[in-house]
């Protein structure tokens, strides 16, 4: 079938495309912070370096939390399409718990760093670290709020067309955050802890 044949694309395709463009612009925003971190990662100003600060056990658990929450979020989208609401709510709850666990671990890591005098004002390296990882954490926070909203809206309005479209956008957002986390994990933690 030739492209453009068959009339205008369904709303769902157009909304997905628009949201995809937003996600790409968000990833470009992250890329600026990735570049900043890569430039500044050696500038510790006599302070602690990544090798002394990063705990890979905690980071591994964070990674698993985020990866499995991405998986349950995808399953939630499937259950919503199939109108299996109890399974959908269970998937949402799991996604929320795993995302919340990720956020809790990250915040306790930040608190630990600040407590041992390695806050964002200590060195250029730590400023870049807190900006990059903190922006990702802020995105996760927004995602969790959005997830609560979508669950409540599904309960109030039912699995209608527009609700399913919005949940599709949420799932794209959540998966994109996991992609950004792969970059954070590799550049910041795995390369930094060596």
């Amino acid at each position: 079938m030739a492209r453009g044949a068959g009339g205008p694309a369904p709303v769902r395709i157009i909304v997905g495309y628009g949201f995809w463009i937003f996600l790409l612009s968000d990833i470009i925003l992250f890329s600026a912070l990735f570049a900043t971190y890569a430039v500044l990662s050696g500038q510790t100003a006599g302070g602690p370096s990544g090798r002394e600060l990063f705990e890979l056990h905690r980071v591994g658990i964070e990674t698993l939390c985020l990866l499995f929450s991405s998986y349950t979020c995808g399953l939630g989208l499937l259950f919503l399409e199939q109108r299996r609401l109890p399974a959908f709510y269970a998937a949402c709850a799991l996604t929320f718990v795993l995302g919340g666990a990720f956020l809790g671990l990250e915040l306790s890591e930040f608190a630990g760093l600040v407590a041992r005098g390695a806050g964002p004002s200590r060195s250029a390296f730590l400023s870049a670290f807190f900006s990059l990882v903190g922006l990702h954490g802020a995105h996760v926070t927004v995602g969790l709020a959005w997830l609560i909203f979508m669950t409540a809206q599904t309960a109030a309005r039912g699995p209608r067309e527009f609700v399913r479209r919005r949940f599709l956008c949420f799932s794209l957002f959540w998966h994109a955050l996991d992609i950004v986390w792969v970059g954070v994990l590799t550049l910041v933690y795995l390369m930094g802890a060596r």
Binding site: A5, Y17, L172
Partner: protein
């Protein structure tokens, strides 16, 4: 999907315009999860052991990370080369171009500046 229950046995080859796109299946997501777990495990192993030749570790980690991003794009975000996806793939290609320019350009320029910057001792020398 009760409102789209019309049988797909019609003679027309094209899809009905309001057909809901299937967004993957449990199998797709599970395969993606397994791939992602294997790649994450490999990344941790490469960074924590001497499995790879040491100077090659950053390159190995970068390759594993890019592979995992690809897995997420294909199995979770369902970016494919299908006809409905042409625009998404083109936008992705543009995004990758911009990200590459920002990251590699910043590193290149800053490394160049760093290499040409006078050491603080030399600046003190000039001020004297």
């Amino acid at each position: 999907m009760e409102e789209h229950a019309a049988p797909a046995t019609g003679s027309s080859g094209g899809q009905p315009p309001d057909k809901i796109e299937p967004s993957g299946s449990i199998v797709t997501y599970t395969v993606g999860l397994v791939f992602a777990l294997v790649l994450t495990g490999a990344s941790f192993m490469v960074s924590q052991t001497n499995l790879l030749w040491t100077p090659g570790v950053p390159a190995g980690l970068a390759v594993l990370a890019i592979a995992q991003m690809g897995v997420h794009l294909v199995f979770f975000l369902h970016i494919s080369t299908g006809p409905d996806n042409t625009n998404n793939v083109l936008a992705l290609a543009f995004g990758v171009l911009i990200v590459t320019l920002i990251v590699s350009g910043s590193l290149w320029i800053m490394a160049n500046l760093n290499a040409h910057m006078m050491s603080p001792a030399a600046i003190m020398q000039m001020q004297r």
